[in-house]
Symmetry: D3
Subunit: 229 residues, 6 copies
């Protein structure tokens, strides 16, 4: 067993079940995260680079070094239709590792979007392309191509563990990772969760209080809540 995975490109990865991914794509990040028991979220500094950006696909993971985007070119070749590139960096870095040229290449390979714990550039062009990107920063800072990282090894991206082939879902609420093995289960749970949202919304809109709808009054009283005038 090797101590580390640097300098490795894994070509054959097991992607999450296509139907499960399709089903997950119908639900929001918040619902999926709640349905999974409130796990799997990336940190909230990961934001879409344009309003309305969203994506759901299978992860091709990339591990890069600060200021070096060499592995993104290596990763392009590993993308298949339906994939989302997920880029982690060995240390905090905001350099602009990705722009409209790489987006063009990723899209040509079938890549659906990018989740990157570093910076990107060409926001205007990426918006025009409607190529969804979730990043920690926007920066014009150029990068070198000098040091090996890896492709399709397990990575920690923005605080979340991502294995190649996992499902990555991203929308206005953030980015959530669904392990491939539980993709179907998570989709079903998210479906169940969203099912009664419309009903709840109607009740709340009619003036019913969450205190009553969720039957919280007894628990609050037991906890010692006091109403005073």
């Amino acid at each position: 067993m090797s101590m580390n995975n640097l300098g490795i490109v894994k070509r054959n990865i097991v992607r999450a079940d296509e139907a499960a991914v399709a089903k997950l794509s119908r639900f929001g990040v918040a619902s999926i995260h709640e349905a999974m028991g409130r796990v799997g979220l990336m940190k909230p500094y990961m934001r879409p680079i344009y309003t309305g950006a969203n994506v759901c696909g299978t992860a091709v993971t990339v591990l890069v070094h600060p200021g070096d985007n060499w592995m993104l070119h290596v990763a392009a070749e590993q993308l298949r239709p339906g994939d989302v590139a997920v880029v982690a960096c060995t240390t905090d870095n905001e350099d602009g590792m990705f722009g409209d040229l790489l987006a063009t290449s990723f899209r040509a390979r079938g890549g659906l979007g990018l989740v990157i714990d570093a910076g990107v550039r060409d926001v205007k062009d990426l918006t025009a392309m409607q190529f969804p990107v979730f990043s920690r920063a926007i920066s014009a800072k150029g990068t070198v191509k000098a040091t090996l990282g890896s492709v399709n090894v397990p990575v920690v991206c923005a605080g979340a563990l991502v294995n190649p082939g996992d499902v990555v879902v991203a929308d206005d609420n953030g980015v959530v990772v669904v392990p491939a093995a539980v993709a179907r289960q998570a989709a079903d749970a998210a479906e169940a969760r969203e099912a009664n949202e419309a009903d709840k919304r109607a009740k709340l809109a009619a003036g019913v209080l969450g205190l009553d709808m969720y039957k919280m009054r007894e628990a609050l009283e037991k906890a010692g809540l006091k109403y005073v005038d």
Copy 2:
């Protein structure tokens, strides 16, 4: 006298004078803040979740714990038409404590908006609802309902003291708190301040310098400013 206000909901609060609130709603946050002598501002990390969000109303204050939005449900019942919920947290936290369901409930109770020193989610839905929210973060991170906080006690929100019933005004420039007792006075002062802005703008547009319009040259010279070639 109790040492702390945890676990308390105060039902009857003295809200700022309605006419004063109405008058304040005509002015911007910067004008009101300047008119009050440059006090009462929340920290600039409090930003609107969509472009154009703005709100002016009386504060129903909420004190919550990190990762726990139980008190927001308790607060919903205390909202009256014209109120803005102002949420402080006992420690720095960015979890997504508020989304479109709570917004629906708040609006049904007459709530005009939310100012929260924590995270929110469902930005897309809240934007569609045009429900103004000012927060420190956007996050899908779900919260529990386990620990008591309080409603309508004095809180420190984003660095500003807010008493229940105070006026809270928020726009593209940030969030300012106007104590209920000086709401009318602040509105009058803001009115006076904005009154001659149009005149100033016209002069500046015509090429008059602030140096001359504000008669700064003498003070600058006295302070020792030197012009060199």
Copy 3:
């Protein structure tokens, strides 16, 4: 030789060649930054206050103190058509030093925009005016006019050295500074760089990999990259 430049306004500065500025204005910040050898960028916390803001002009530099915008009024008089005000502060500060009134004044003097390592306010109005501003923060916090800084001395703004008369280019990717003496050279290099971008984009869109287009495979192999299944 004076130890410092505080309290000084330099009236006659050597601005970069007009034709070079005009040529630079045709290229993006990322291209210019790359063309110059990846130097001259301000830190990525400098962001446009509205989507689409961009500017290219000659720098009139301003050094201010925290919470004090007096020197911005002094700077207004030094602006000539084609200038961009570049404001550095003696310490980190996010106060709202600039709003629509000063923007009106700057524009009346021929000023094209503002780059400020501090806060600004009136984002809605500045957007309506389409007056491009790049800042570290948005804040309603008012400022005093009490302490001398300087105009047209060398400053460090957001990590970049700016001499008066240098070219400042800002767009969705950030802000780059081009020393006046190399403005023409940088414009030529940026032109050369952008020249073959269309060709590259077409190839990548057709599915050609960067690995092949940039001939990276040999270098990657030499560096030890291993493909595994």
Copy 4:
């Protein structure tokens, strides 16, 4: 009623009861904070400038502007034996507003220490003097004396409301504010809390688990905790 308190020095303030302050000085910040129901803490970025610094006294509050320490000189005159100066700033600022000269002056007036939501300098000298300071930063950055703030008005310092005369307790765990009116009550509660700490410590040292000592097992089981092998 005035809208703001800028430019005011209140000379006569009601200080917390001397005996209560003396009693509070025997307990730690964590104990007092817990005893008060987990309120009153300043944010954890407030740290002692040397190991072992601690102080307990009555607050003389100071409101200053960024980069301006004029009011600290005004505050020196208001200090009485047993006071601690508590400095809030109208905006985030790390400038070095306080050093060994002001410490000498404060001590000569009976001042016991300083809590400042800004920067200080002369750490080596202050350590040699054993003058306890809790600050957000250490910085050599000099300040001006140009703009009025206030002394002995209510301030928000590092997220905590401080009224003049309140008790401020600071040690290796941070800074807590005890309102003057509940100082005795808080001291008693802290005493009760610390009373059985020795007993708890002995039990835990003997290998008794908190699970048993605090009788948590039932609650954990009810909450659904599962032990697996």
Copy 5:
């Protein structure tokens, strides 16, 4: 397969080989990190709470919620001699989750130290006990015991994946995680790496340049380095 690991305590974990742990304890974090190929490091915000703190042991992992330290009590029971508790939180949080009482309990169980991506308190007492703690913050903020997390599930702590039983090594340079399966291999590699450090140090102390000792001159020249006068 369960979607998440919340509410679970795994009792039987496979700890890294004892001899490998013992060998690893002889080397520094930087050497081990380098020996492993520069992977496994926690983020540098994880710092020792006192100078000289260091620890090497097998991880008992804990997943907690913000502001809630209930699971630390559950974890105490799972500690065996030679273990280090590694605490991750579901969201960024700096509350003081651990103090001298829990340290006493951990030590009584054989626990060697604590690595926690949250806050701790009682630094003075922990220093007196010489109980090594590496944390992201120091804070007196008290926590509740209300929500289940887990013990001995895989966690991401300060950016590093930690599986129960992995070796955690911490010293003045930071915290590194060594997967149990490669602990021996990492120890051997670290040994090899440190073996010739003394020799290198002697050469450098004698004035030999790294340029020559590491034979860098040719590579630098090839890369285009130019010496000018």
Copy 6:
């Protein structure tokens, strides 16, 4: 004229006058910074890695890339007795670029210390060596040697412009840069400034107020300060 200085090592630089450096070494950073008119300070995140670290010498400047310390080896050869290495990075980076081996090499060349806008490691060893280092972070993160930067070009380090040969002074208060051309003048001004500090300290210790010693009362009254009871 070249657009950038990447890939260049300047061998002959003009160092500040030796006597001026010697004189500056007698004064503190705060005094020198004040004496120069409050300019030249690096940002306060630059902190000594051990208590008591201080250094005064002539700058050999180094420009590096994130995660790459190759140029530090190149710089070692350019150090002469009395020099301090000043390292700037092209982007924010906290990797551990420097440790006890490089310190041994620098010291063998006559280097007195290091000021680095990045991370360092081996704090314990560097403390034992009493090799003064001022950095933005401590990190075990290893670096590569792959990309050219430069030595002895002008750099912006932690917000301050540093030209090779300038005097760099660092102590518990931070780091200040004195341009070579004004080193003597700054030393004289600092001397004058410190001359009457002892006198001031004695007066303040005797209870004289700064209000009187600095004759501030009239200015405060003119500014509108009001004393109330």
